[in-house]
Structure formats: C-alpha cells, structure tokens
C-alpha cells in the first residue's frame, strides 16, 4: 500500500489558500502531544521549549521524556525513539494521561515505537517527515510502506510533511534544525505566540553565539509559515489567566534548587542515570552559593565524603539512583550509628541490578528503609510533584539536622525529567542552618547526650574546644566510648529509633482525596499521585465510593493510617513496582509477593491491604488505574454476594 492510497493518510490541505484561516478548528480542554525523533535530532529540545512556553502561557503542563537507553542508538529504529510528551490543558495537569492525541514524528520507525506501545489515541493526528516514502533506498521505502500498513488498523490521521525539504531551503544540515521547524508547526496548530517561543529559543541558546539563536528562530518561522500555507488544522485550548507567581522546571532542577534553598553546602556524587542532571546542575551553580560539589571516585566515596563534610559541621547531600543506593548502604548505616546528619536523594529507576536505567520505577522503597544489616532507622520521604521535589529537600535538611539522622528522599525518573509549573517558592532564611559556631563545650556536655524520652541530642563538631571525642561505628555510650555492654547497646538502638517516633508525632494524618469513608481507599506514594487521583475521580464520577490518600513520609509513616483505613471496606495500594498477579500460576494469598508499600502498610496497620502494581518502565496511566479500581470493586462485590449466599 502506498502512502497516497492509504485510507488513513490525509492529503495536505491546499484548498484553503495561503494564510487563510483554517476551517477545521478543534476546541478542547486539554491536549496531549509528543515529538519523537532519532536520538540526536532534537525532539527533546523541541518538546522542552514547547512545554516551557505552554507553562508560561498559564496552561497546566505535565511532560514525560521519551528516552532511549543508549547514547547513539541506530537511526530509524523503534529502540532509538527519543522525544518528549506534553500534556497541557486549561486546568492543572498532574500526570501524562492515557494517550497521545498528536504526534510529530521524524521517521516512521520512531512512530511505530509509540504505536506499538499503544501510546496513541485511535484518532491521533500524526505529522510525519514525508521524505522516507520516496527515499532512494528501496529498503527504506519498503519499511515506510510496512509501517503504514501496520498502523492502518487505527483511525490515525496521517499528515506527511516535507520537513527536510523545507529545512534545506535554510540550512545545510537538516538534522540540526528539523526540531525547530517542527516547533513552528506546533506553534501554528495550537495558535501559540511565535515571539514567546522565539524568546524561549534565545534563552535556551543564550550561551551560544547569536547566529545560533537566529538560525533556530528562522526555522521556527519557516515551520509556522509552512503550516499556515499547508495545514488545515487548528487546535484551541482555553487558558485561565492567573496572578499567582509561578515557576516551571523539572524535578531534578527543583531538587537541586531545593538543596540550595535549604542551605546545604556540600554535595558529593558519582554519575548515575537518571540522577546525574541534579548533580550537573549543582556542578554548574552550587559554587555561586559557596557550596562544594565533589565528584567522588565511586558511589561509596560520595557517601563517605558527604558524611565527612557533615561530621565537620555541614549538612551534606549525596545524589544517586538505585544501584548507587545499594553501594552506599554501609556508609548510610555509619551515619545512622554516629548520628551524623545526611540527606540522600535517590532518583529511582527500574531495577533490580542495572535494570532499566533511563526508565521510571518505585522499587527502592524497601531498600531505602531496610537495606542495612542491623537496625538502622532513618527517615524516608517521597515527593509526589515537581513542587514537592523542591520543598522536600528543604524539609529533609531540617529533619536531618534537628534529628541528627539520615533522610532518604525518593524521587523517580518520571519526576526527574517531567516539567510542571508551580507556585514560586518564597525563600526563607530560616531554612538555612545557623552559621557554624565553634563555641567551647561546657563541662558535662557529651557527644551523645540522648534525651531519655526523645533520643535527641546536640552534636559537637570539630573546632569546638573541650568537645574532643572520637565518633565510631562501634556501639558507644553517651561519651562516644566504645561499649559492648547489653544495656548500652539496647539504649543506643532505642535512642536512634525513638527519634523517628518523635518525628512522627509532629506530623498530621495524610489528607484524603474524595470522601472520608467509603468502599475503597487507594493508597499511593511518590510520582503516581496525579494519575491515581485522576483515576479515582473517574471512578467516583461513575458513582463508586472510592477515595485515595498519598503518603509523603514512608518512614516514619504519617499518623492515623489505621483509623483512616477502618473507615473503608477495602484498602489497596497502586504502585509502580512489582507484585505477583494473584491469578498467575502457583500464586496463592499465602505466597503472593506484594507491592512494597502494601507490604509495609500491612505490617504497620494489620489491615488486609491489597495492591495493583505494574513495572512498565513508564508512568502509570490513569485509565489503567481506573480499570484496576473497577476490577477491585467488582471482585469485592462478588465476594460479598458469595458471603451473603
């Protein structure tokens, strides 16, 4: 089947004369689009600029990066699809939704990758580089035809666009500019202000010579012009003006800025995907705030240097992802044992082992809580939004310092690269630690002056006259003297543990999304919040008594969970990690391995918490969650019927 004969291919509209207003205007409350290319063709940059401009126009925005696992995957392959998904709309957007409504694809193979993942809506509009259809290489022409055949079972509207041909009228190398032409197409389709986009382009290329910005803006305008002339397609999404001061950024930027805002002065790291961009950002800017970024020789040394800096009076940060967290375990236990404040940011990826390095998962929860031998209580928290990525770093530093403890902050690859706007933080000096005061230690003051009720104590740091002592990973008494006696070991463990209970008593129960009681409560943590709440809203709209709650703290857990759970007939978690399918062979209620939060909640509350979890290497879809909730509700009512019979 040739493209011209495919039922799904729309001929480029030529009847609506140059520059005339499109007849075909869609009015929608939200739209989801993506730009996909071979790696290195700039689709990600195009998407990032579109998302930033959307946010600056006051649209609600959520983005998801489409990232290949390799730096330079072979061209024109499904595995090499690279780009950006942007869901934007009139209201706040909290997740990536169910499917994509419009795609700009630089070749048919990357389009196929998205098609095969079932990522596209049945009526998806596809703008695709047309050159491959007439490529001199017969094999490529065949691949194009095969691809068109494969997608023909859907009602996609395929619009071939001569991207390269157009770009060649302005530049020699279309690989370096097609993305800006594509941005121009989108600007015209969605009626964006071209000057706003040009500004954003100039900001993106601010460090390069002005010719670079100019060439990119030229290509943007070329795209706009081409779409005006040739596309009878216009999508209008209304927006609400607001006076609220807002910022737009991704989660790794938010975490890095949060670390600076918190007054942290030292960060040690080792490169690891998908955490590296936090470190790279800090490497670029941290020194301006007097902060030291140390790229250590390995993950272990990064933890050690952070602990050393913290021991010497700072509160230090180390940034990593799952495999790095595993390597840091012994040092984290040392920080727990010596009560040296430490913040560990774990940008979670798919595991186990090297797993899915560029893709999202929530599989480090139990490792974050329990990966040390011996009892090593620490605080674990999980921001759910980009905004929380910022503020959780501030909270983490304060807790680490006040409680002399380790705080592990779990974000993930979805938050790391997803962009969202949020209320601009109002920075506060009180977030910072007081400047170092090397006052003399008064007699009787001890390095582990545990308050017998709370376990809290003030730390003494090097430089303080009269406070000299040796901290040790061995069991120790109030004076930090090595002590193996049963009483002191019991006391030390109790004191380190008690601090978590004290922290828990300062917290409020988590808020409930939906009614305070009902048939089913969904519990989540981390980046799945938006998708879970959207799913809950849909199922509630169908008349079901479903609510959800989202936990920011996983250790210690927020109070009141048992009481909240008692108000619902059923409780289940929705998580982005592995659990056994109860219907799978050999799986029984006795041997079924559960989602990580479900496992914890059952232990904590003695409630028969069920779970629905998946490990797709991509964020959960609200539609899939809603289906799982419906299945849970109908299974529950069937059980009740059986009981009643």
């Amino acid at each position: 089947m040739s493209p011209s004969s495919a039922a799904t291919v729309t001929r480029i509209a030529t009847d609506s004369g140059p520059g005339s207003a499109p007849k075909n205007v869609l009015h929608l409350d939200e739209h989801t689009l993506e730009i996909v290319s071979d790696s290195g063709e700039g689709a990600q940059k195009c998407g990032q600029i579109f998302a930033s401009v959307s946010a600056k126009m006051n649209y609600g925005v959520w983005t998801v990066e489409i990232i290949p696992a390799e730096i330079e995957p072979p061209a024109r392959t499904a595995a090499g699809a690279s780009g950006n998904l942007i869901r934007f709309g009139r209201d706040k957007v909290t997740n990536w939704g169910d499917e994509t409504n419009l795609v700009v694809a630089f070749n048919e193979q990357v389009l196929l990758a998205r098609h095969r993942l079932d990522a596209l809506s049945d009526d998806c509009i596809i703008l695709i580089e047309s050159k491959w259809a007439e490529d001199p290489d017969a094999e490529i022409r065949q691949e194009w035809q095969d691809a068109m055949e494969e997608i023909s079972d859907r009602n996609y509207r395929v619009i071939p666009v001569p991207m390269e041909e157009q770009c060649l009228t302005r530049v020699d190398n279309p690989r370096k500019g097609k993305n800006m032409f594509a941005l121009g197409l989108l600007a015209q389709i969605y009626g964006y202000d071209v000057e706003k986009i040009s500004e954003q382009i100039r900001a993106q290329f601010a460090k390069k010579p002005p010719e670079v910005s100019k060439a990119n803006v030229d290509l943007l305008e070329l795209g706009v012009h081409w779409a005006q002339e040739n596309l009878d397609l216009r999508i209008e999404v209304p927006r609400i003006e607001t006076d609220e001061k807002r910022v737009v950024m991704n989660g790794n930027q938010a975490a890095a800025l949060g670390a600076i805002a918190s007054g942290m002065e030292f960060c040690a790291m080792y490169p690891i995907t998908p955490a590296t961009s936090v470190s790279q950002y800090l490497c670029d800017v941290f020194e301006r705030y007097g902060g030291t970024m140390h790229q250590a020789e390995d993950e272990i040394a990064a933890a050690g240097a952070a602990i050393g800096a913290s021991y010497a009076g700072k509160v230090a940060l180390t940034v990593t992802s799952g495999p790095g967290l595993a390597l840091k375990t012994e040092f984290i236990a040392l920080a727990v044992m010596t009560e040296i404040p430490l913040v560990v940011l774990d940008v979670q990826r798919g595991g186990p082992s090297t797993g899915l390095p560029t893709k999202v998962e929530q599989s480090d929860l139990l490792a974050a809580l329990f990966s040390q031998p011996g009892d090593a209580p620490r605080v674990v928290m999980a921001p759910a939004t980009i905004e929380e990525c910022f503020h959780s770093m501030v909270t983490a530093r304060r807790i680490a310092k006040s409680f002399r403890c380790v705080v592990i902050v779990l974000t993930d690859a979805n938050l790391a690269s997803g962009q969202q706007q949020f209320q601009r933080p109002v920075l506060d000096e009180r977030w910072h630690a007081a400047p170092a005061n090397h006052r003399a230690v008064t007699s009787g003051e001890r390095p582990y002056d545990w308050d017998p009720d709370t376990g809290l104590s003030r730390r003494i740091v090097p430089g303080q006259p009269g406070g000299m002592h040796t901290v040790t990973g061995l069991n120790h008494d109030h004076d930090s003297n090595v002590d193996y006696t049963p009483e002191i070991n019991q006391l030390g463990c109790a004191m380190r543990s008690r601090k978590l209970a004290v922290l828990q008593q300062t917290m409020s129960p988590p808020p409930i999304h939906g009614d305070e009681s009902g048939e089913l409560l969904v519990v989540g943590w981390g980046s799945t919040k938006g998708a879970i709440e959207e799913a809950v809203d849909r199922v509630r709209a169908e008349g079901h008594a479903v609510s959800s709650t989202h936990l920011t703290f996983l250790s210690p857990m927020q109070p009141g969970l048992g009481e909240i759970f008692s108000r619902f007939e059923h409780v289940m978690t929705v998580e982005l990690n592995y659990s056994d399918d109860p219907a799978a062979p050999y799986i029984t209620p006795e041997n079924r391995r559960l989602g990580q939060l479900a496992f914890l909640l059952r232990a904590q509350t003695l409630v028969d918490v069920d779970c629905w979890t998946r490990v797709p290497g991509q964020p959960l879809r609200p539609g899939h969650i809603a289906d799982a909730l419906r299945r849970k509700l109908s299974a529950a009512s069937e059980t009740e019927v059986r009981v009643n019979e």
């Binding site: 946010a55 006051n58 900001a203 001061k245 807002r246 910022v247 737009v248 950024m249 800025l257 600076i260 805002a261 007054g263 002065e265 030292f266 040690a268 800017v285 301006r288 705030y289 007097g290 030291t292 140390h294 020789e297 272990i300 040394a301 933890a303 050690g304 240097a305 952070a306 602990i307 050393g308 800096a309 021991y311 010497a312 009076g313 230090a316 012994e330 040092f331 040392l334 010596t338 706007q421 601009r424 933080p425 920075l427 000096e429 910072h432 090397h438 090097p462 430089g463 303080q464 006259p465 009269g466 406070g467 000299m468 002592h469 040796t470 901290v471 040790t472 990973g473 061995l474 090595v482």
Partner: protein, 317 residues
Amino acid sequence: MSEQLRSFFGCGLDDDRTFDLNDYGDSIPRWCVGCGDHGVLSAVKRMMRDQRLLPERTVFVSGIGCSSRFPHYLDTYGFHGIHGRALPIATGVKLSRPDLDVFVVTGDGDCCSIGAGHWLHATRYNIDMTVLLLDNAIYGLTKNQTSPTTPEGFETNTQPHGTYLPALNPLSTALGVTNASFVAQTADWVPAHLLATLKAAYEHVGFSFVRILQRCPKFSAPVFSEQARTPDLHELLFHSDGITVPSLDKIYKHRLEHDPSDLDRARSLAEDTERTRLGIFFKDATRPCYNAIRHLPTYTAAQNIERLNRELDRYAV
C-alpha cells in the same frame, strides 16, 4: 595546614598555647604488648606537641583494623569509620573545613586491599592531609589472614601453605599515581626517624603518604623481627630537602643521598626491596591540591537567597 590558611582561619599561629603529651591523650591503648602501634602513637603525640597542634582543630580519621583504633587513644577529634573508607571521610572533612588538620590512620588491609580504590584517588586529589599507613603485613584484628603486603610464602590462616603471590609494594603504587606529592617510609623500630618523618609529612602541604613498617608480635613477627634487629638491612635516604637524623648515623651505616624531587629515582629506589629504605622518596609541594583549587568563599543566607531568587527568575512563568 599552610601558614596562609592558619592566619585566614585565625588559629594555630596566633594561639600561643603549648601542650604536653598527655594533652593529646593519656588513655592506655588496647593493643597487644609489643605491637608497633604503641610506638607510632607516642611519635604522633610527640610530633603534635612539637608542632603545637590544637587538639580541637585536629581530626584523626581511620577505617577498621588494629591500627584504626588509633583515634580512640587521642584527645583530638576522631572519626573511626568503616573498613577501607577513611580516605573518603577525610576528603569530606578537609574539603568542607580547610581550617582543620586532618590525619588518616590506616592499615595494609584497610588501605591497600578494601580501600585501594580510594587510596589511588585520594593520592591524585592531593588533599592536604597526612596519611599514616601502619603496615604490619597481616590482618591482625581478624586474626592472621594474608593481606596485600604479606610476603610471598608467608603462612597465614587463609593461605596456610604460604601466601601465593608476591606482596604489593605500597611505595611503588603510591609513586605511580599521577599527582602524588609526598611519599615516605619509616619504621616503628627507629623512633627518631619515625618522628622526623611524621614532622616532614605534617609540614608538607598536600597528601603526605607515610608507610610505617610496623611489627605485629602476634601474627607476623617473623616478617620484621630480623630486620628490626639488624640496622645493616636498612638504608637511610638523606638530603637537605629530605630527612636527616644525625643521631642515627652511627648505627645505620648504609646511607644514600636522594633528592626527593627526583621521581624517576624515587620509583627505582622503591622498586628495589633488597634493602629497607627509610626516608622521603618523593616530595613536590607544587603539585595541585584539590582542596586549594576547590576552596570557596562563604556567603550569608541573605546573599544566597538574593542569588537564588535571580536563578528562580530564569524559571518564572
């Protein structure tokens, strides 16, 4: 610490306190009788007294092993860490607090085996600290296992038919690392030389690596016993820019003039283990120090908030 830094932080030089040995600790170490660590501890205290180190501004970091108990027997600040990882901790301490005098005490298992990766990189960072490798050629705390520096053929609990491989040479290893700036060797049984070496190591600005040959009477006594009794098995390296201990000249007949700026010769002297050479093999104070390169001014919270607000402007909607 350099004089410049001392005056910058207002400590040390303009502090006219003097100390006696007990000010640096008077507890009784729990090392075995005859253990070389006792002598090293005494020499370290004497060096600190002579150099008037302020106990509250001195930090001893160690890993795990017999020698790593060292900080517990000193009245300075101490950090008894985890096995092999003293150097990363010390790196963090010195980077964030350049006003502190930082020492690392490590052993042949701690430094040359489990912590070898850190050792190599710490040498290259050339952070201003003094590192004492207490090398007794055996794992002592875990009771008699082969370490990387155990001589070939020596019988241990893990290699009972004799240690399989030739011993790792810590001096050659350290001298092979790019940006190494101070490598010396001394022995617990030559106290005057030990003290002079510690002093030179402390005064050197950079990563001062001192291998201290150290007897373990329990598990590796034969490795050093003959040597410790026989001055003729030694060769003292001397130079106007190295270590000169005139009181030893009568006993230690073999002496060799060696200019510590000569790296090639340092490497060949380190490779040749026919004689136990004591002295400074290599010293170069011009090598870049990571802590000096990375030294930053401090800002007030208000200054940082103002800057961060400008950064947030970049993200403003």
